[in-house]
Amino acid sequence: MRAFDYIRAGSCKDALAEAETPGTAFIAGGTNLLDLMKHEVMTPARLVDISRLDLRGITLTDAGLRVGALVSNSDLAADPLVRRHWPLLSRALLAGASGQLRNKATTGGNLLQRTRCYYFYDTAMPCNKREPGSGCAAIGGFNRIHAILGASEACIATHPSDMAVALRALSAEVELLAPGGGRRQVPLAAFYRLPGDTPHVETVLEPGEMIAAVLLPPAEGGRQIYRKVRDRASYAFALVSVAACLRMEQGRIAAAALAFGGLAHMPWRSADVEGTLIGEVPSAALFDRAADLLLAEAKGQGDNDFKIPLARRTLAAVLAEATAEDTEGDRA
């Protein structure tokens, strides 16, 4: 690990002032950042420890649920309000990482975790995300875990978070604090960026900006499902995942929000897919049409070609479960 200066922030204001110095990174749980620093994939000159800031609250407001950026993944998954009204979020969190990691990893850090592309981690290989302009070793290399949607010629990495996929389906927003004292709220939909020709720029965070909270709008009634497909039963990243919030009325789909993990550089959501489902009577043919729309632009890279039929089947299975009248499941 490269040497760095360590600064413990006493307040958000302190932390933001410290972050104005170039080469500074915030650290909270550290479960991803320290791993990347050990590999020298990330080499910040200064670490500002924000783990003791007062950003740990989970509060119910008229506008929904406010989750402080430092709430651990464990605490968020086990929170009684989340379990009752946003079970999708609990399920997605519990499907990720291990018990030890969830105890340390934070809500804000989970959103900002980096891809697990093997070439991003391997400093002997080219990677446009790690070293802009150096090339992409995953294109034409081993790319079993890589993106089939929204990728570019510069980068085919996927976003690894399960939590972010649930938050995308739940139409969450992110509250950001700026060094000058500004505060802004960004929908998760607009928070992440596709790789394009700048895959090293992953979010719309400005230099020095800090995530203060995640905001969830009030839960809509209905069924919530998180289905994750992975190489082993536990403690593995998603190959494909589907987060669904779906409400039936008189045998027809009245509301549908669907987000997908493992497919792209960010949690994926498609208005076309949801639009084709709403107002319809569920059927295998309908689910197939939804998958056609989801995957119309899908492109395999060789090793990951299997993700295209896997995404189709996972979506169909989730929709069948979410629209069935007599199944057990989490209801908001």
Partner: protein, 171 residues
């Protein structure tokens, strides 16, 4: 940097490079070598300790970030003369082969049983509103952050079930 850690109820004042992980502080600076370094990347769980009662991977944490915290390692759970219930259960069911992952397994399981007691659900729980029970499937899921290269898993699960059952009987 100066860091104070309370490890197993004993205060340790340490002078550390900021890069020192909590794991290296415990092993190389406080001299408590029961906690093991396996992968050093948070993948194997051999370094699991409890900080303020919660299990974490000590390899993925900076010691300076834990200034003032209370750490419990395998040495703090029991002694050869007075084993903790989980330590005794691992002996009873032969829950190891080489033993290298065992301190992490036992620290992890100790905290995991408290998580179950607190009603935390898991990925395999049928409902999110409990009650959480230490079944074989629940233990396998909740212990997935602790790998055993010898694959002693059946006896590890048996040890944890035994300790959980004994605690229920005692309660």
């Amino acid at each position: 940097m100066h860091v104070t850690l309370t490890i197993n109820d004993t205060k340790h004042s340490l002078d550390l490079d900021p890069r020192t992980t909590l794991l290296d502080a415990i092993r190389s600076h406080a001299g408590l070598t029961g906690t093991k370094k396996g992968c050093d990347h948070g993948q194997c769980g051999a370094c699991t300790v409890m900080v303020n009662g919660r299990r974490i991977n000590s390899c993925l944490s900076l010691a300076v970030m834990h200034d003032g915290d209370a750490v419990t390692t395998i040495e703090g759970l029991g002694t050869p003369e007075a084993l903790s219930p989980l330590q005794a259960a691992f002996l009873e069911t032969d829950g190891f082969q080489c033993g290298y992952c065992t301190p992490g397994q036992i620290c992890s399981a100790t905290a995991m049983l408290e998580e179950i007691r607190a009603g935390w659900p898991s990925h395999v729980s049928e409902t999110l509103d409990g009650p959480a029970l230490p079944t074989e499937a629940e233990i396998a899921e909740r212990m997935s952050g602790n790998l055993c290269r010898c694959s002693a898993y059946p006896n590890i699960v048996a040890a944890i079930r035994l300790a959980a059952a004994e605690r229920e009987d005692a309660a």
